[in-house]
């Protein structure tokens, strides 16, 4: 990344691997569990969070010196909520079909603890540009895990990817299903999201033993 200094580019790359908000910090699990039954929802959620987190981190960083410390959490919550409502309203007015797709996710963004976590841990102490990079980086790290989990849950649970049947037709018994393969309905239920996240954490820590805590 020629554009960014090495310190800045770490803000983007760290959350993608060694400081991933989901697998290392174990934040944002609630939404990772709720939206990953299908790949498309995971992607949409990832994009929405990238936007809200980038913008939110900048806003918080810009007003960090005038926020009263006693009510800073309330201020952060207000900023996220306001941003999310603005996005929701603008989408409803100018891209109605997309806003129908997003539906419930819009509200879920507000409750994402990664967002509050980054406001509190980073934006309150750093400048706007670095906060922006940190927000984008963490949202990407979150989105990456979401998409991996969504990929496996949709593939093994419904036999589709982005709604396209990639393994054949389970009712007509074509493709892979002709060999006796069945979709695993359990993959569609919330507990499997946690188990898949757990497997990702296992793979990641076994490849990088520095991450293992005593």
């Amino acid at each position: 990344m020629g554009l960014l200094s090495s310190k800045d580019s770490k803000l983007i790359s760290d959350p993608l691997s060694d400081d991933n908000p989901i697998t290392i910090q174990v934040l944002g699990i609630c939404s990772a569990l709720a939206v990953t039954a299908e790949l498309k929802a995971s992607i949409v959620m990832a994009i929405s969070v990238i936007f809200v987190m980038g913008a939110g981190n900048v806003v918080i960083s810009l007003i960090r010196n005038i926020i009263p410390s006693k009510i800073r959490i309330i201020v952060q919550l207000t900023v996220v909520a306001a941003l999310v409502i603005i996005v929701d309203q603008v989408l409803k007015a100018y891209s109605y079909s997309l806003s129908k797709e997003l539906g419930a996710f819009i509200g879920l963004i507000i409750t994402n603890c990664i967002i509050m976590g980054r406001f509190e841990a980073f934006a309150l102490a750093n400048g706007a540009w670095r906060s922006f990079l940190d927000g984008i980086g963490n949202a990407l790290g979150y989105g990456l895990i979401l998409i991996i989990v969504g990929f496996f849950r949709e593939l093994l649970g419904s036999g589709t990817l982005l709604g396209f049947p990639v393994l054949g037709d389970p009712i007509e018994k074509t493709g892979l299903y002709s060999t006796g393969y069945e979709n695993n309905g359990f993959m569609l239920l919330a507990p499997m999201a946690l188990i898949v996240v757990g497997l990702i954490i296992w793979v990641q820590r076994s490849r990088n033993t520095d991450l293992i805590e005593d």
Binding site: A41, P68, A93
Partner: protein, 252 residues
Amino acid sequence: MEKRTDKNSYTLLFATAMVIVIGSLLAFIASSLKSKIDENKRIEKQQNILYAMGVHENGNGNSTVAFIEASNVAGEFSKYIKKQIVITDLDIVENNDAYLIDIKKEQTKAKAGGKRQLPLFIGKKDGKTYYIVPIRGIGLWDAIWAYVAMDENMTIQGAYFDHQAETAGLGANIKQRFFMDDFIGEKLLDDNGIFKGITVSKSNSDPKNDDKNDNEVDAIAGATITGDGVSAMIKSDLRLYQPYFENLKKTN
């Protein structure tokens, strides 16, 4: 030394200012976009009604829902929907804005002991008459609703389901064609003409929905409560239209 931003007076001042600034910003955005959002919702209703009677751009072999273009909706709607009526008890009044009737409000009215207005849209396509009605119920998390097109025997000719906030990949799939299309050809009445509704069933062992006489469609795995909500709203709301169809038969 105490920082300026730690003082109670400053905190109060900041909180007040924040509420005023964000409150008016959101109010301004909401009111300036309201007319556009309402217009989108109106177009969506027309698209849904037309979709239920088979006026859509789904195409062949495509499994996704494709409404007709928003820009063409007004023309197509007046072309296919011949009559809009509102039924109150046995009174039938023609009303060209019947599709704008808020079903939620009517349901609340009925619960409070008032008289519920039942909108019904009569469409004609390729010489066939469709009777389209809006219904509304409760899913797992929030409201679910549908537009159902029937023929004069109360056999389903098409349906469009939608929801506020059902779980993605599970309950949200009621708006997928593999679920909605199963309703086509299903009968609301049993062989003796008694209203039976259509049950979203987990045990009908008919995943391709070949049996159109069982008053059942196949449920979605992992969406039990949403499916039950669909069965319930079909039973409670479509039943109200049965007298209209009985009268229709007598007059013919």
